[in-house]
């Protein structure tokens, strides 16, 4: 029998001496799609039991939000552990040793697309064909345990690398360019929300979901109030108490409210029910968290802002003419 070109012993020796024999860009460095997807999900702690994330309930009390950085070593060990399944001998060990750098590098890229995979927005093969750029290796996030999570399951969560002014428009620049990629946003239980961002945020915003424009008042300590809005429907600070009926304290005295509004010259001109409705808009609230700066002792609460835009105003003479044109038979 002819002897082999190379003995397995020599091969093993060669692998151990020069671990990186395969270029990370070479096709054979690729993991099977399912495995890569599984490990990328694992990197974002998907499926990791909650007790491992928060080992003591007192670290995340009721009605609290806790910001954090992800320990990259911890998630690397998680992946090491997953790969160790079926590792029965030195051959598998040598293999893992050789593949480790390329696996790590590849998973760094793949984790950036996990959210799209979770949402079903892209297939894994498409994601692999057009990988996301890694803008920042640091992964941060927050855990929120609150009644707000169960009540407003679809709240918007955004993180920015700069503190933006109160009335910024999230769809326009500069906010769009300042937004950090969202890596994960998921409810771990009906009352606990986890969010992961790529990069270190300077400001995090939780916004009440926009389920249409509704009307309402702000109730505080049994008193109702509305926010003062200028003709552009932009809140200009301050609130106006809403009078209620003597006979039923939960029935608003709207005619009287309108008189109060009309006397306030800073507000939208009260021409009728449309301008009145603007004052009663119950706009989605936006809770800002800014200035934690990685300081554990930070205890401040965020501030609330409320924003809106109106497309036109009835006080505008041109618009009034145009409206009349529409309603003419």
């Amino acid at each position: 029998m002819r002897s082999a070109w190379i003995t397995s012993q020599q091969a093993l020796q060669a692998r151990l001496n020069t671990p990186q024999q395969i270029d990370p860009s070479a096709p054979e460095a690729e993991m099977p799609p399912y495995m890569e997807s599984f490990l990328a999900h694992l990197r974002l702690l998907i499926g990791v039991p909650f007790d491992y994330l928060v080992p003591d309930a007192r670290l995340l009390p009721d009605e609290s939000i806790r910001f954090f950085y992800i320990d990259p070593s911890w998630t690397d060990r998680l992946v090491d552990g997953a790969i160790s399944v079926g590792k029965i001998g030195s051959r598998e060990q040598a293999h893992h040793q050789a593949q480790h750098p390329s696996v790590t590098k590849q998973l760094d890229v793949t984790t950036r697309g996990v959210r799209d995979l979770q949402r079903g927005a892209i297939s894994f093969l498409d994601l692999r064909a057009s990988p996301r750029a890694v803008s920042d290796p640091v992964v941060t996030g927050f855990l929120l345990r609150s009644g707000a999570v169960s009540g407003w399951a679809h709240m918007d969560v955004r993180a920015y690398n700069k503190v933006l002014p109160n009335n910024y428009d999230p769809a326009a620049l500069p906010a769009g360019a300042r937004q950090l990629p969202l890596l994960r946003l998921e409810r771990l239980s009906p009352g606990v929300l986890i969010a992961l961002f790529e990069g270190i945020p300077a400001m995090v915003v939780c916004e009440e979901p926009h389920h249409g424009i509704q009307f309402g008042v702000h109730e505080h300590n049994g008193k109702f109030s509305v926010f003062r809005r200028n003709p552009g429907a932009v809140a200009i600070g301050g609130q106006i108490d809403v009078p209620v009926r003597q006979s039923n304290p939960r029935v608003l005295a709207l005619a009287e409210l309108r008189r109060t509004l009309k006397k306030d010259n800073a507000l939208a001109a009260q021409t009728g029910s449309a301008s009145f409705a603007i004052e009663l808009l119950n706009l989605p609230f936006r809770q800002r968290f800014a200035g934690t700066g990685g300081n554990v002792r930070y205890t401040g609460t965020g501030e609330f802002v409320y924003v809106t835009k109106v497309a036109g105003n009835v006080a505008d003479m041109n618009l009034q003419e145009a409206v009349k044109g529409i309603f003419k038979p």
Partner: protein
């Protein structure tokens, strides 16, 4: 200025939209004034037609959206219920008070709406569970009082849905005329916007909202009712609005509805005495009921503890590791948590654990990969306490992967592929050495390209390179490289001068060893046109001559003559 539809995500609000022709019965009277032969021929003709609109029933398809959602559960206690009606003119189609078309006028303080401002004939009333009862298919005359039935035109055989509630309650929540005007408006939304958009809708909606805020944790029903001609319930001026203590006022109002005259004298006394009397004295009074034509209704439940605003403002904010009570649990300054466990020997031990969520940026451990959890166990240098954070991470990763059967398979496939690849690479390396393949080809390139063509090309290249210039037919250049034909070697070996050796070997003598003839260089030619070629008579003549000679040669070879 032409009004374009609102941009995406925007909407226009309008005060009202009145129909060009309100519902009712109409007569078209046509009249001609024709004179023939100085005699007038009056041709009068009357036609009758009806404009109809929803009156005592509203088709459910006309309601395109409600808020709070139908049967929804949520914290709606600061929201005003609203209904969106697809027919944008509906609230203004009928007069609320036929006798006085514009009864409001400009109120004395000059702050009200204008005298031409139309008043809607529908109102959205909010009731809580137990405050109302619904009736279906009731004759209209049993719903509205007789006087109002007559004002409505005594329509016969009308069955409608009705709502019955305490008269006092209805009066306390019923909007006044001016409030009705404020509670309805028209909205023009972008059709691309999901908001309220219904298939077949033109983007226009009439919105009617309520004036009552639901109580926390109450089950509520919002009812769109008709208040056409209900002058008995809709007042021009709203009830007084100062907020005194609520419990006293409600009782006074209940009594007041029983006997209006009684109220005048009793109010002051009741206010004084109700604190001591309590509400028990008032039981047994059967309050008067009011019935309203019900056009549409839906239910929702207020639940949840507080509004988004209150909850978010009440949050305890901090980095992970911030504790409500210092020292509970006893975190270290590195955010590690001491936990008690039994070690392998069974003895109790305190170890440190820290999850993946940390309050500071940590660098990545460069000592990867780890092949077992034990490799990742650490001891803190100061105290010697074991840190099992990373070992725990390794184990949970292993367990999660082991629980997934498909992952185990994929891992095996990944390895098998790599082994096969590795064996192939080794084989190529060995072949390369054995065949002395050209070094220009890298191993990774070889590893995924077919090896036999490359080996063949490599061998061919070697052969071609070794064969020397093509003009050296006898291979003399190659032969001259042998040591015996080297003048230097010959001169050294035989003790000759180099010139003699050259003479003996015939080096540099043309014809002796043959000469290297370089391949014929191609003559560079400029691009030319066919016309230019045709003008070159001399060249054409030469070409013709060559052609003739070739033909002649061929003819001779074939045995014929020219």
């Amino acid at each position: 200025m032409a009004l374009t539809p609102p941009p995406k995500g925007a909407m226009y609000l309008f005060d009202y939209a009145t129909p060009p022709l309100p519902p009712g019965s109409y007569r078209i009277h046509s009249e001609t004034d024709v004179t023939v032969d100085a005699k007038p021929h009056a041709l009068d003709h009357d036609n009758y037609f009806d404009v109809v609109g929803p009156r005592f029933n509203l088709p459910p398809t006309d309601v395109s959206g409600v808020f709070p959602p139908r049967n929804g559960h949520g914290p709606y206690q600061d929201a005003l219920a609203q209904v969106a009606i697809k027919r944008r003119t509906l609230p203004w189609e009928r007069p609320i008070d036929a006798g006085a078309p514009h009864p409001i006028g400009e109120p004395g303080d000059g702050l009200g709406l204008g005298p031409d401002y139309p008043t809607p004939w529908v109102a959205l009333l909010l009731f809580e569970e137990g405050e109302y009862s619904l009736m279906q298919g009731v004759p209209l005359e049993n719903v509205v009082p007789k006087a109002i039935f007559q004002q409505l035109g005594s329509p016969s055989n009308i069955l409608c849905d009705a709502l019955e509630a305490d008269l006092s309650l209805v009066k306390s929540i019923m909007p006044s005329k001016e409030e009705l005007q404020l509670l309805s408006h028209v909205r023009w939304v972008n059709k691309d916007d999901r908001e309220l958009s219904v298939e077949g809708s033109d983007g226009w909606f009439a919105i009617v909202m309520t004036n009552r805020v639901p109580s926390p944790n109450a089950k509520c029903r919002a009812c769109l009712v008709s208040v056409e001609q209900r002058t008995d319930l809709v007042k021009a001026d709203p009830p007084p609005s100062a907020p005194p203590p609520a419990d006293v006022v409600v009782h006074i109002e209940e009594i007041a509805q029983r006997d209006a005259g009684f109220m005048e004298v009793q109010v002051s006394r009741l206010q004084e005495t109700s604190q001591q009397r309590g509400s028990s004295r008032l039981t047994g009074i059967v309050p008067a009921k009011a019935r309203l034509v019900l056009l549409h209704s839906w239910q929702f439940v207020c639940e949840g503890n507080g509004t988004f605003f209150d909850l978010m403002q009440g949050l305890d904010v901090g980095m992970i590791g911030k504790l409500a009570l210092a020292g509970r649990p006893p975190l270290t300054d590195t955010s590690h948590l001491p936990i008690d466990l039994h070690d392998r020997g069974g003895s109790e031990e305190t170890a440190l654990y820290r999850g993946p969520l940390v309050p500071f940026v940590l660098a990545r451990d460069p000592l990867g990969p780890y092949h077992s959890a034990d490799q990742a166990r650490r001891a803190t240098p100061e105290t010697g306490v074991e840190d099992i954070s990373y070992a725990a991470a390794f184990e949970v990763g292993r367990l999660l992967a082991a629980a997934d059967a498909r992952l185990a398979q994929e891992l095996m496939r990944w390895r098998r592929q790599a082994y096969r690849q590795s064996a192939r690479l080794d084989m190529i390396a060995a072949v390369q050495i054995a065949l002395a393949l050209p070094p220009g080809i890298s191993i990774p390139q070889l590893s995924y390209e077919p090896i036999s063509p490359i080996a063949a090309t490599g061998a061919a290249t070697l052969l071609v390179k070794g064969s020397g210039p093509i003009a050296d037919r006898y291979g003399m250049t190659v032969a001259s490289r042998t040591p015996g034909l080297n003048p230097q070697n010959v001169s050294t070996a035989w003790g000759l001068t180099i010139q003699d050796a050259n003479v003996i070997l015939g080096v540099k003598t043309p014809g002796t060893l043959g000469i290297e003839v370089p391949p014929v260089a191609r003559t560079p030619r400029a691009n030319t046109t066919l016309d230019a070629v045709l003008k070159d008579q001399a060249s054409l003549a030469r070409l013709g001559m060559v052609r003739d000679r070739k033909i002649q040669n061929a003819a001779i070879k074939l045995g014929g003559s020219k």
